[in-house]
Amino acid sequence: MTASDCVLRTDGLGKRYRRTWALRDCTLALPTGRVIALVGPNGAGKSTLLRLTVGLLAPTTGTVEVLGESPTTNTPQVLSRVGFLAQDHPLYRHFTVADLLRFGRSCNLRFDQGLAERRLSQLGIPLDRKAGALSGGQQSQVALALALAKRPDLLVLDEPMASLDPVARLEFLQVLMGAVAADGITVLFSSHVVPELERVCDHLVLLNHSRVTLAGDIETLLTEHRLLVGPRTTTDLDRAGTVVEATHSDRQTTLLVRDGGAPTAPHWQAHPIGLEDLVLAYLRRPAPHGAALPVDVAEVPA
């Protein structure tokens, strides 16, 4: 990937809080024009990676480049092209929606207030209402409208739907996907809810134990991986290092392999694997040797 079609590039990126590594050895190149899901359990380092991306944190090791520039040194140039929505979509509760829009316009180099007003009126959200008096779903829509009003090239969202009910989640995704269709925005968002990702995302980054364990185009990942079911085998499992996970019953062995569809041995049956099962299999893998991480790495407070 050349610099221009790469929205986020990290090289050996790491962040340490006192003695605990929240993120280690993170090397990524994420393509533009995609909807990228950052998936991992609580404490895996998702928020840390997102905050490094938008320049809210400085790396302990390695480098991060957003839209070809460092978010901590070229701040105004980069940040005017990046929208960020922190966890629980924080708003100033005592500001009216109109105040928030005015505030957004004064604080940004680029801000399309008319666009935000149109979006919010389509959703029936009154501009004279105080943010604190809106429902959770409406607050998330106001926060999203503010972020989209910047007309960002990259929109970074930290657990955007975690606190929303199913109807509000759907409405949030409808607006988000509509913006992607209309403006070709690249979206990077973290989530630990896998089932709804498949219809929304086309690129995946999996974080576990503070490290990237899987990253790539989702369709490619799904064709590279498959489940092999056959007679119980416990020896010679790690053929060429393609076995991701092995489970055994009395007579059968099930292997999740990443072999790109090599011919199956006799008595073995190959099955395709879904995104959710693939993600779960990778999340079940133990931490690599030598990582020596405490289990309760605290998630960065939003």
Binding site: L170, Q174, M177, A181, R199
Partner: protein, 131 residues
Amino acid sequence: MFVFRLDSHSGVPPYLQLVQQVRQAVLLGFLRPGDRLPLIREAVETLAINPNTVAKAYRQLEQEGLVNGRPGQGTFVNETPAAAMSSATYTSLRRGLETWLRRAYAAGLDEQAVNALFTAVAHQTKDENVA
């Protein structure tokens, strides 16, 4: 206006679900030549789905010759889709199938057995037609 739906638990990839729905709608006459499919943005906003997924489905339908995309206007069902059948053919085939199904259930077959039988015969007839 044609409306897509999406079943997130079917195990069928989302783009393929869209392709199948258009194929089926053309086959059954719910979509007729000249009809416009939803714009990518419309489909995206109804389904809360990735635009690339809809674009991919439309590309595949175009390759199959079922629809054509006109830049700036939308995607339209083609004049003579090869797969379309007349409503008379549809009704008569459907009646025949209903009669057969009633006989199968009367003979004590359950839904699974019916599906298994249908699939087996469908495969066999397809092989014969190819050969």
